[in-house]
């Protein structure tokens, strides 16, 4: 299933602005943000919580519209002035922060749901492929279990398999490992890297943890606090395949040192804004 030709999945975001209008109080969440993500690249978006990174993801996935600017995927217009809201499709698969596996379907049924519903595969074919992919991801024996019965680590892994079975152009991840403790997180990182090395699918990954960004990403984009604009872009030249030893190499430490100040500054502003708001 590995699509080696990484000629697809290039996203180009051009001067996108997003103004929310909750009950008449218009608020700018994204301000004139431009970003180029080449095909097969792992782009990490780092920024303080609530700074509008998720708004960008929602725009690409087609959950929300954008006010100005355009977003292209492999040259085709996803959304722009003429079409503010992109259609949702399996080419841009989203993995949510708290997970969205259907609790009433077994993990196998969850994974097979996409192809069946799109009519791409027959029921039997889809289930067979689902089981095969789950086994490949090392959790083959849980295919008949319900999401409520397996650990959060396994559930998250099967959610990524559910995304990959549709052979998406882009994987959109919204802080997928935030609710996990650090050690399960390190295993999740390794499994994601494994999946990436095999499929070379473009990954748009949102996180507020800088070390996670540098460890996983090819490019790390630091966003300002609200409204979100690009503050700093760092190219991570660490060779692939990477493993947890990379976390303690000198090169990694220097990169963290370099970007830490920028992230810290933005986080402090967001933190104080939050505190002042509550007082």
């Amino acid at each position: 299933m590995a699509n080696q030709n990484n000629s697809r999945g290039a996203i180009s975001i051009r001067n996108v602005t997003k103004i929310y209008d909750p009950d008449g109080v218009n608020v700018m969440a994204v301000d004139d943000c431009s970003l180029e993500i080449s095909a097969g690249e792992v782009c990490m978006i780092v920024g303080p919580s609530g700074c509008g990174k998720t708004t960008l993801l929602n725009a690409i996935a087609g959950f929300h519209s954008i006010t100005e600017g355009e977003i292209y995927l492999d040259g085709q217009l996803l959304c722009g002035p003429s079409k503010p809201k992109a259609e949702q499709g399996a080419d841009r698969m989203v993995v949510f922060q708290h997970g969205a596996l259907f609790p009433w379907k077994t993990l196998g049924e969850n994974v097979a749901y996409g192809p069946i519903v799109q009519g791409v595969m027959s029921k039997a074919e889809a289930h067979e492929k689902a089981e095969h992919m789950l086994a490949e991801a090392g959790i083959g024996d849980v295919a008949h279990k319900y999401p409520g019965e397996v650990s959060s680590g396994m559930a998250r892994r099967s959610e990524i398999v559910r995304a990959l079975i549709n052979d998406p152009k882009v994987l959109l991840l919204d802080e997928p490992y935030r609710a996990m403790d650090a050690l399960t997180k390190s295993i999740m990182h390794e499994s994601l890297l494994e999946v990436y090395d095999k499929t070379k699918v473009t990954i748009f990954f949102i996180t507020h943890d800088l070390e996670e960004a540098i460890f996983l990403g090819d490019k790390v984009v630091v966003m300002t606090t609200r409204p979100a604009t690009l503050k700093k872009t760092v190219d991570v030249k660490i060779p692939r395949p990477r493993d947890y030893q990379t976390l303690t190499t000198e090169e990694f430490r220097v990169l963290v040192e370099e970007t830490k100040e920028a992230v810290h500054e933005e986080a402090k502003k967001a933190f104080d804004a939050g505190e002042r708001e509550l007082a």
Partner: protein, 285 residues
């Protein structure tokens, strides 16, 4: 937690729409009004269909139209007996309800707190609970000397089971962390009960009360209809509806139905209001 905090700071940046303005432009509110008016018109047309078009629509055809109901309501609006039945029914409802709260809440809390008490008293409670309250009406008429007391007893039963179940449920799933934190700060059994379990169960006490109130109105109406029809029937909205039905003025029956609907709604919102005042910390959700 901090995400929710950040999003709040978004709205403080620009002008806030006033509450009324928001209400008026709320589309679903207008649709609701249209739907209600439409329903009343539909009722009018169907009831009048015999007179206007000569064809009688099944079921609704036999029901008097709204115009007739309003006329009937105006007629008895100034008739003291009508408001007296309001007063009597509400009195009975609150009598039964308050007794149910006074006995039900401590009983529920004791069931939750003390294991042995629960082992002994929960089985008989569970055996009696499935018996619908109205099945007790004849038995309570036999037992209690006056009809007034028998109605109050059945109303008490109606609310009692619901309140106890809600209080028990609420008290048993208080987060164990609160109890542990209080214990490590030197709270003895008594402190734990008054300072942690009681406030922690308050929300489910009020839910139980709101549901219990709904049931008491149903029970009072039924007991008034069943026993009120008898000798020294003491009036009340249930009796009012039954006697209007016996007396053949169906429009007045509908007036009775609407008034008891309003009375029920007012008393439930009163309970919700009490809940809001006694739990200031919940208002901020």
């Amino acid at each position: 937690m901090t995400d929710a905090v950040q999003s709040k700071s978004i709205s403080s940046v620009s002008k806030k729409k006033s509450k009324l303005e928001k209400m008026l432009t709320n589309k679903s509110l207008w649709r609701g009004v249209v739907a209600l008016i439409g329903a009343v018109i539909f009722w009018e047309v169907c009831s009048q269909s015999k007179v206007w078009f000569g064809v009688e629509i099944p079921w609704i055809g036999k029901v008097p139209p709204p115009t007739e109901v309003i006329a009937a309501w105006q007629k008895i609006f100034y008739y003291t007996g009508y408001w007296e039945s309001w007063y009597l029914s509400t009195g009975r409802v609150f009598a039964g309800f308050i007794i149910a709260m006074i006995i039900g809440i401590p009983f529920g809390l004791l069931l939750a707190v003390n294991r042995y008490f629960r082992d002994v008293f929960f089985p008989p409670f569970e055996i009696l609970r499935p018996i619908p309250p109205l099945a007790w009406v004849p038995a309570s008429i036999i037992f209690w000397p006056t009809t007034e007391m028998s109605i109050a007893f059945v109303t008490f039963l109606g609310a009692f089971f619901t309140i106890v179940i809600n209080v028990l449920g609420g008290a048993r799933n208080i987060d164990v962390q609160y109890l542990r934190a209080a214990q490590s700060m030197g709270a003895n059994q008594w402190d734990l009960f008054w300072k942690v379990i009681l406030p922690g169960t308050l929300p489910s006490i009020w839910t139980g009360a709101a549901v219990g109130m709904g049931i008491t109105w149903e029970v009072v109406l039924a007991s008034e209809m069943i026993s009120g029809g008898g000798q020294q029937g003491g009036g009340g909205l249930g009796f009012f509806i039954w006697s209007s039905y016996m007396g053949g003025t169906v429009a007045q029956v509908i007036v009775g139905m609407i008034s008891i609907g309003i009375a029920g709604y007012l008393s439930s919102s009163f309970i919700r209001y009490l809940g809001v005042i006694t739990m200031p910390w919940r208002r901020l959700f």
